[in-house]
């Protein structure tokens, strides 16, 4: 029941798995070009069940690849995000995830040994905060790409001081959240009218799901995993990890597009407001129209996540091919 090559060594041993670096997670400690990995991990049944539980997304663990049971590549997104723990001490991380660009390429066979790796490619300072950009990817045993991401994060901040206000750069175009007053579409089609709503996906996130998703089980204590971790940075309650919203949007888009989202879906998301433990959040979308992606015809939608008060916590766009017929 291994989820990484090193994890079994925890039994009775020291707590020094490969993802625990030693550098304090501070902006000034970032080196551009710094590599994380590559590491081999096995996407085993346990890793899949952890994701299914944390995201309340059973469909993510019920795919097939070449006839074998497979899982959604979205389950590797957080593994890729936390790659920087390989060099930095994860328990010193007080970052704020602001932006995520993700491309899905293939389901992952359950039991498959995959390779993950990434690097810091850019840093910049804006409004007194230090941002860092990481690019990372995962490949299957046969070398096929599974998922690639480019994410932006404020490397070290005091979360209580900045959550609640957008830190992301102003988008080139706005996500309006406008949708036609019609029955939401269950399946993607190029025939759908502009602004047709997608069938939404709602989740009330629990502390246990946040603990599992944000690596509480791997020995980390942070603003997501427990009250003490939140209190340490001035939060009165735990805040959900932004990357969980990528999973909610992926769940909605995969249900909408079907397998084509798993093999050719793209998500570009900005995290604009926090959401907290026990919040009910809903992934929503509205069809925009056809776009060309590397010579292929994709259907693009505006997507967002909103809380019960209707406040958007993540906004962005998704596109993927459409399997017509």
């Amino acid at each position: 029941m291994t989820t990484t090559e090193q994890q079994p060594a925890l039994i009775g041993g020291t707590t020094t798995p490969w993802w625990t670096g030693t550098k304090p997670a501070l902006f000034e400690n970032i080196e551009i070009g710094e590599q994380f990995g590559p590491f081999e991990i096995t996407v085993d049944d346990r890793l899949v069940k952890n994701y299914v539980f944390a995201q309340d997304d059973p469909a993510a663990g019920a795919l097939t690849h070449d006839g074998a049971p497979a899982a959604h590549p979205a389950l590797l997104c957080n593994e890729l995000l936390f790659l920087f723990y390989a060099n930095f001490d994860g328990n010193t991380a007080e970052g704020l995830h602001t932006h995520e660009n993700i491309s899905f390429h293939s389901p992952i066979r359950i039991g498959e040994k995959v390779t993950i790796g990434g690097r810091y490619v850019e840093t910049y300072e804006r409004r007194g905060q230090g941002y860092v950009v990481m690019e990372a990817e995962a490949h299957g045993e046969d070398g096929r790409p599974l998922v690639t991401r480019r994410g932006t994060e404020i490397m070290h901040t005091r979360a209580a001081d900045v959550v609640g206000g957008s830190r992301a750069p102003a988008p080139a175009r706005a996500v309006t959240g406008e949708a036609l007053d019609v029955t939401p579409a269950e399946r993607a089609s190029f025939d759908l009218a502009e602004r047709t709503p997608l069938a939404p996906a709602a989740t009330r996130i629990s502390q246990e799901q946040m603990y599992v998703f944000s690596w509480g089980g791997r020995g980390f204590s942070n603003i997501h995993t427990d009250a003490a971790g939140a209190k340490k940075v001035g939060m009165d309650r735990t805040v959900a990890q932004a990357m969980q919203q990528v999973g909610y949007l992926s769940r909605m888009c995969t249900a909408f597009h079907g397998p084509s989202f798993v093999t050719g879906g793209h998500l570009s998301v900005k995290f604009v407001n926090p959401f907290y433990v026990d919040d009910l959040v809903t992934a929503r979308g509205a069809v925009l129209g056809t776009v060309d992606h590397d010579g292929a015809r994709h259907l693009e939608s505006e997507v967002w996540v909103e809380n019960e008060a209707g406040r958007k916590t993540a906004v962005g766009w998704a596109h993927a091919p459409v399997a017509e017929g």
């Binding site: 029941m1 039994i11 603990y211 427990d226 433990v277």
Partner: protein, 344 residues
Amino acid sequence: MTWRDLTDPRVVADGVDPEAGLKEPIFENLEIPEALGPVTLVVDDHKIKRYAFTQDDHHPWHLHDSPFGGRIAHAGLLSNDLVQLFTTRYAASRTVGLHTEEQLWFDSPAFLGDEITLAGTYTESYTRRGQDYVVMEATASGPGGRSVLRHRGVEILRTRPGDVAGRGSTGDGGSGGPGRISGTADPDLPVARLGTDTVVPGAALPELEFTITQEQASVFSRCGEYVRNVHSDLAVARDGGLRIPIVQGQQQCGLVTAMLTRFFGESLFTGGRLRVKFVAPVEVFEPLTVTGVVTAVTPSDSGSLVETEVWVRRADGRLSTVGWASATVPAGATGAEPSTSTHP
């Protein structure tokens, strides 16, 4: 809105410490008898899915539909709520105890959406081999007062788990019940399966394999209520003399009830009985095998009473949990019927 657990952790956001004012869980603070609870909680979708996750038990009766009409809770779902009822009076995160024995009576299933009232009493305390023990009796009742689950548990209230876990602290390594647990079945007999003539003394029960990860142990042992203990937190475990967190005894008990659900089926939920002793610790990530053996089949007017021994075995071969389980199955469900008793 009724919450799903003994405590509502949402109060933490308001600066409330859920354990403030609760007693230190030490022998000197016990009152016998002492009422524990009552607490009313709801069996909601997340509570069932969470238990499915911690126990790796995705049986369709719990997640889809059951012969009882609708989704039902796992047989063991409420058992840890009963064990933990003492934390309505005592501080949960100050507890460094050792659960040594558990008895459960399964009276009826709990359904998705049921509000369940839990109430218990510390009925007895005693000192043996330098350890202070306390006995709790508790019940879980559903709508209309319907009995769902009854519990009797024995626990060492305050100890250093690293010093006593694994030394046979239950006193007898498995005896003290109806008989010593052999941990073996007749290898020449097929695995017992109800509805066939395989349910005979000596036949093995279905075997299930589990490995409880840290995530599963932590979620089971109430990390969602911000409780820190030797099951959920490495630092607390090390303070207790352990090298790594150990799996809660009641979580092992739940592995046994999962196996019994697969063997007894509906009969477990409407009259099944289980008694287990926790005789050796289980570390997180330690592979486990859960099984048992049929010891007696006694036909009666209402069916057949099937008695079994059950156990959890660690990868090193040592038994960590041992016990006895029984249920009355419908007439015709065993090979013994309708002729005579097959008591050994």
